[in-house]
Symmetry: C2
Subunit: 197 residues, 2 copies
């Protein structure tokens, strides 16, 4: 549609997740038409991120060193490990400021349809971390969907033999949400998990 | 939230139009976690696009040479000029394959609120193009909103003295749309512009 390279950049942006052809076009034109947009900086960051960023050898979170900022932080409580599917989930939980323990990133969830089994996840590494008896509680914070629940119950079964408390994040109505618009599964969970006031 | 450079790249993506913090994070992690994603290519395209892409000296469309691919194409009919606000609109109209004339990109629309007046647009260049008498019809394809309509009526008044047909794209119901969900202005326009069958 466009002269060569403009279309190539649109196509390249279109390969990124959540960016359709229209957004890709909008972004490309923004870059073309905004002289103040620092193309060099974005290019450099892209290259650097690939070179410098690795995954924490302990928890699997993103890191610029061998260990991530959370695993390096001596103020974090090593008795609690929160198990998540993805490094993005670590950031989401960190934003709540509710949790001061450590994390373990599985790198996905069990999904027979997608061909992801327990051996494809960082479960062996989790077991190794739990071996020395420091950890008192494992909080299963996989997603509240089919794959996440399957992964949580798999892990929960795996951990029953150990002297460790295993917990799961509460399911229920989203805060600020509207009961009327909640799906029946969520509403059902909210009933099931109701608390006496 | 994240270790230095990951957050920097998230922030940089977040500066692009239509990309919120969540999307920026998703894109950054996609790049981090997809070894096959060609970071180098994206970086190179970003730099090249800035260096190589300019705007056509005739119509203002994006171009890799002094003149854009459309202005260079001898098969296009120079008797018709379609006036649009933005180079993105050229691409949108080209996709319809309805128009075989040339374009003129204004670079925006008249907007007193945004402080954009006629002198800020490529209107003088349009008048120069019309001076030699080749053009028979000017199709005003500015957006069907307040600014676009203002720009179209400004241009229409400006062109009344010339021996040129001035037309405006039809407003009406979007094809495939649902009458029930059309806003009243669109529906009003659809009535106004109704055609005898």
């Amino acid at each position: 549609m466009y002269d060569g390279i403009v279309q190539e950049l649109i196509d390249e942006f279109g390969r990124l997740p959540g960016i359709g052809p229209k957004s890709a076009q909008r972004i490309t034109f923004h870059i073309l038409q905004t002289p103040s947009f620092d193309v060099k900086r974005l290019s450099e960051l892209l290259s650097e991120v690939r070179e410098r960023v690795r995954f924490c050898e302990i928890c699997g979170n993103v890191a610029e060193q061998e260990r991530c900022a959370i695993c390096r932080d001596p103020r974090r409580n090593p008795e609690f490990i929160c198990v998540v599917e993805d490094a993005k989930d670590v950031a989401a939980i960190e934003r709540t400021r509710e949790f001061r323990g450590l994390y373990h990133v599985l790198g996905g969830a069990i999904s027979p349809i997608a061909g992801v089994g327990p051996d494809d996840l960082r479960i062996a590494q989790l077991m190794t971390r739990l071996a020395d008896g420091t950890v008192q509680e494992v909080i299963l914070a996989t997603n509240p969907n089919l794959e996440g629940e399957a992964t949580a119950s798999y892990l929960s079964r795996l951990l029953t033999t150990m002297q460790i408390t295993v917990s799961r994040l509460a399911s229920g109505l989203p805060v600020g949400g509207d009961l009327e618009y909640a799906d029946e599964v969520t509403l059902g969970r909210a009933f099931e998990g109701r608390r006496v006031l």
